[in-house]
C-alpha cells in the first residue's frame, strides 16, 4: 500500500527517538526515505535507532535539536539538507505533557505544552514549506490527539495545543494544496508509549477495541499520509483510537 519513495530528499520526524516518533521513523525508512531522527535528550535511543535502520538497509541519522528553539530548528534543517537534500516529508511528532486541572496549570505549564506541541509545529512547517513550494511536492503530518476534539480533564493545555494543531493543519493544507503539498493530522487515542506508561491500565476497558494501540499502528497511518497514494488527502485528520471517539 505504501510504495517506496522515489522522490528526492528526505523525511524528518521530530521527537523521533521514542514512541510514535520512533515507529514513524522505521515506517518511513521502510518506505525508502532517508530519515532525520530528531531528538532533544534521547541521544542514545536516536543513535541506536539510526543504526538499526542502517542495519536493515535503510538510511537514517540522528539530528539533535530542541524544536522550541528557532536557531536549533534552522540548524537541524541545514544539517539534514547537507546530508540528504531537502526535507520532502515532515512529521511534527515532538510533544510533551504537563497535566493538571486547569485552575492549577501555571503559566509555565501552559507555555511549555503550547510551545512544544503547537508553536514548534509552525516553526518546522514554515521552514520546510519553502523548499516544498519550489519542488511542488511535500508531505506534512502533524501528530495530534483525540484530546484535540474531545474532553480529557487534566489536560486543558494539551487539549488546547492539539486542537490548535488540527486547525493549523486544515488552514495550511488549504494554503498550499495547489502546490502538490499535503498537510494532514493523525489523532491517536490511547497508545502504549513512554508518554502513557503512567496511565491506569484499566483505561483499556473504555476502548471499544479493548486494548491500547501500538506506535506501529499510528506510524502506518502516518506513512500512508506521506505516500504518493495519499496525494488527494489533505487537511484531514485520521483518527487512530480503536473506536474510543467513535
Amino acid at each position: 500500500m505504501v510504495e517506496p519513495a522515489e522522490r528526492e530528499g528526505c523525511a524528518l520526524v521530530t521527537g523521533g527517538a521514542r514512541g510514535i516518533g520512533a515507529a514513524t521513523v522505521r515506517a518511513l525508512a521502510a518506505a525508502g526515505w532517508p530519515v532525520g531522527v530528531n531528538f532533544r535528550a534521547s541521544e542514545d535511543r536516536a543513535s541506536a535507532l539510526a543504526e538499526e535502520i542502517a542495519g536493515a538497509g535503510g538510511r537514517a541519522r540522528p539530528v539533535r535539536g530542541d524544536v522550541t528553539d528557532p536557531a536549533a530548528v534552522e540548524a537541524l534543517f541545514s544539517r539534514l539538507e547537507a546530508d540528504y537534500g531537502r526535507v520532502a516529508v515532515l512529521v511534527n511528532n515532538a510533544g510533551v505533557r504537563v497535566d493538571g486541572l486547569s485552575p492549577q496549570l501555571s503559566e509555565e505549564d501552559w507555555s511549555a505544552v503550547l510551545d512544544t506541541n503547537l508553536t514548534a509545529a509552525h516553526r518546522t512547517t514554515r521552514r520546510a514549506l519553502r523548499p516544498m513550494l519550489r519542488a511542488r511536492w511535500g508531505r506534512i503530518v502533524n501528530v495530534a490527539s483525540i484530546v484535540g476534539e474531545r474532553a480529557n480533564p487534566g489536560q486543558a493545555n494539551y487539549a488546547a495545543a492539539k486542537a490548535g494543531l488540527l486547525g493549523y493543519t486544515k488552514t495550511v493544507a488549504a494554503e498550499v494544496a495547489r502546490r502538490g503539498i499535503t498537510v494532514n493530522a493523525v489523532a491517536p487515542g490511547l497508545i502504549a508509549t513512554d508518554m502513557t506508561a503512567d496511565l491506569d491500565p484499566s483505561l483499556a476497558a473504555h476502548v471499544p477495541a479493548r486494548r491500547l494501540g501500538t506506535p506501529q499502528e499510528v506510524a502506518a497511518c502516518v506513512a500512508f499520509l506521506c505516500s504518493e497514494s495519499a496525494a488527494y488527502v489533505t487537511g484531514a485528520t485520521l483518527t487512530v483510537d480503536g473506536g474510543l471517539s467513535a
Binding site: 519553502r130 513550494l133 519550489r134 494554503e175 498550499v176 495547489r178 502546490r179
Partner: protein
C-alpha cells in the same frame, strides 16, 4: 546576497523567477499579476528569491500591495539599496 546588484539585474532576476511560475502571459515590467495569473503563493516564492539573492525581506503586508512586475522590481530595488 549581493550588495552590487544593479536595478537591471534585479529586474531580470524577478522576471526570470516569475517566468518559472508558469505565467499566463508574457512577463513584462508592465504586466499585472492578475493578467499573469500569479497568485499569492507565487509572491511568497518571489519573496524567497528576494531574500536569498538580495537579502531583502518582504513581509506579508508588503506582498499584499504588490500588483505588477514593475511594482515588485521597484520594491526589491528600493529595499536592496536601503
Amino acid at each position: 546576497m549581493s550588495a552590487t546588484a544593479t536595478p537591471a539585474e534585479i529586474e531580470a532576476r524577478v522576471i526570470e523567477a516569475i517566468e518559472s511560475f508558469g505565467p499566463a502571459a508574457p512577463v513584462t515590467r508592465e504586466a499585472s499579476f492578475q493578467e499573469l495569473d500569479i497568485d499569492s503563493l507565487d509572491l511568497v516564492e518571489l519573496a524567497q528569491v528576494a531574500e536569498e539573492d538580495y537579502g531583502v525581506e518582504l513581509k506579508a503586508e508588503d506582498l499584499k500591495d504588490l500588483k505588477s512586475v514593475g511594482g515588485a522590481v521597484d520594491l526589491i530595488v528600493a529595499r536592496a539599496a536601503a
